[in-house]
């Protein structure tokens, strides 16, 4: 993903396509899209990945999380014909070198989350999948999804604090 972001590397984008396109399509079909419609949305999603690559910040998001939210937004646009209210974007410092330990930390957190999901009983796992695929309403979602998100939140918060700090430094210059 960073090769796509920093060098507009087409081969790297091709690899991202091979990995994510069938998974995004799987997600869309689970959400009720037919083959043709799902393919169209996959195309939009992958083009957005290419065009918005500069906005990807590995200190605050994982590639799969970033593509997950692009696919979710595009699905809402197409199916509900409405745009999704989005928070204000945080400005990003151009050319900032990502903090390697923070990026690694994000990767480790995501890996641990994946392992935690794998350890769940099938019924609970299905519930989590249903929740994140938008099949459960906010009323059906219980207080806890059963996934340990606390440490990931802290990790992302670190990335946010760092970004705020950098932005403040930029303004002060």
């Amino acid at each position: 993903m960073l090769a796509v972001r920093d060098r507009q590397d087409r081969a790297a984008f091709g690899a991202l396509f091979d990995y994510y396109a069938p998974r995004v399509k799987g997600m869309l079909m689970r959400k009720g899209c037919g083959h043709g419609q799902a393919d169209e949305i996959v195309q939009d999603v992958m083009l957005t990945v290419w065009r918005k690559a500069a906005m990807f910040d590995p200190q605050r998001a994982q590639v799969s999380a970033w593509i997950f939210q692009i696919a979710r937004n595009r699905h809402i646009d197409v199916i509900r014909k409405e745009s999704r209210p989005m928070p204000e974007e945080l400005a990003q410092e151009p050319d900032a070198e990502p903090d390697a330990s923070q990026v690694l930390g994000m990767e480790q957190e995501a890996k641990q989350l994946k392992e935690a999901l794998a350890r769940l009983k099938p019924a609970q796992r299905e519930m989590i999948e249903a929740a994140y695929l938008g099949e459960l309403s906010h009323r059906e979602l219980s207080e806890k999804t059963g996934l340990p998100l606390g440490t990931i939140k802290s990790r992302i918060r670190l990335g946010l604090d760092k970004l705020r700090h950098e932005l403040k430094g930029m303004r002060a210059e």
Partner: protein
């Protein structure tokens, strides 16, 4: 500015990240997240979980020529995306977007209380409320779930004080009498899944403040 102490409950954050939260609530979440880094991190954490689910998704093969057509489109000129609507005054970006970039057009409800309906539809409604300091917040029926985000000033009720950035979660069980604190008018963003009930609003507003 005092720190935000009332946040969005976890199930609503998960539903927002999953894309299943009805639009009126999603607007309140987006506005709150614009003001609150703790909740911004919470949404991002749920998106990491969504990404994990995406990673584990059963693959559905795409049409053979889809990759070639996507690659061919990489250099195609695209219309520049419209710039995201920026925050203006006390109104965060997503609220300004719902206002279509214009200042709110207030409608008086009497007693100095004003409202501006942003959206109303099948999934509920969302509006801005403007309550002068010392006045009671109109009784917005708690038939369903109601989220109220403070954008300016503050209000207090039996459950506590709500300042800028705080969200009060009201449901059928919440019986309260919120009153805007003295000082600048309290401006709130309020979303509900119950239909708007204007009728019940008027009699309540006609009651002298000290009797409420």
């Amino acid at each position: 500015m005092s720190a935000i102490s009332h946040h969005i409950p976890e199930p609503l954050m998960a539903a927002y990240a999953a894309g299943s939260l009805p639009r009126p609530y999603a607007l309140v979440v987006a506005a709150h997240v614009s003001m609150c880094d703790a909740c911004r991190a919470t949404v991002a954490a749920h998106e990491v979980a969504g990404g994990v689910v995406l990673d584990e998704m059963v693959k559905a093969p795409v049409e053979e020529d889809l990759k070639a057509s996507v690659l061919a489109l990489l250099d195609a000129p695209v219309d520049p995306e419209p710039e995201p609507v920026k925050r203006s005054g006390v109104y965060p970006g997503p609220v300004m977007e719902a206002l279509k970039g214009r200042p709110p057009r207030w409608k008086s409800l009497g007693m100095g209380v004003k409202q501006c309906i942003l959206e109303t539809g099948d999934t509920g409604s969302v509006r801005l409320l403007h309550i002068p300091g010392g006045r009671a917040v109109p009784d917005h029926s708690h038939n369903g779930l109601e989220l109220t985000l403070v954008l300016q000033g503050s209000f207090s009720d039996e459950t506590g004080r709500f300042g800028v950035g705080d969200v009060e979660v009201g449901d059928e069980d919440l019986e309260h009498t919120p009153v805007a604190d003295d000082g600048p008018p309290c401006i709130c963003l309020a979303a509900t899944d119950a239909p708007l009930r204007f009728n019940s609003l008027i009699p309540r507003l006609l009651q002298p403040v000290f009797k409420i």
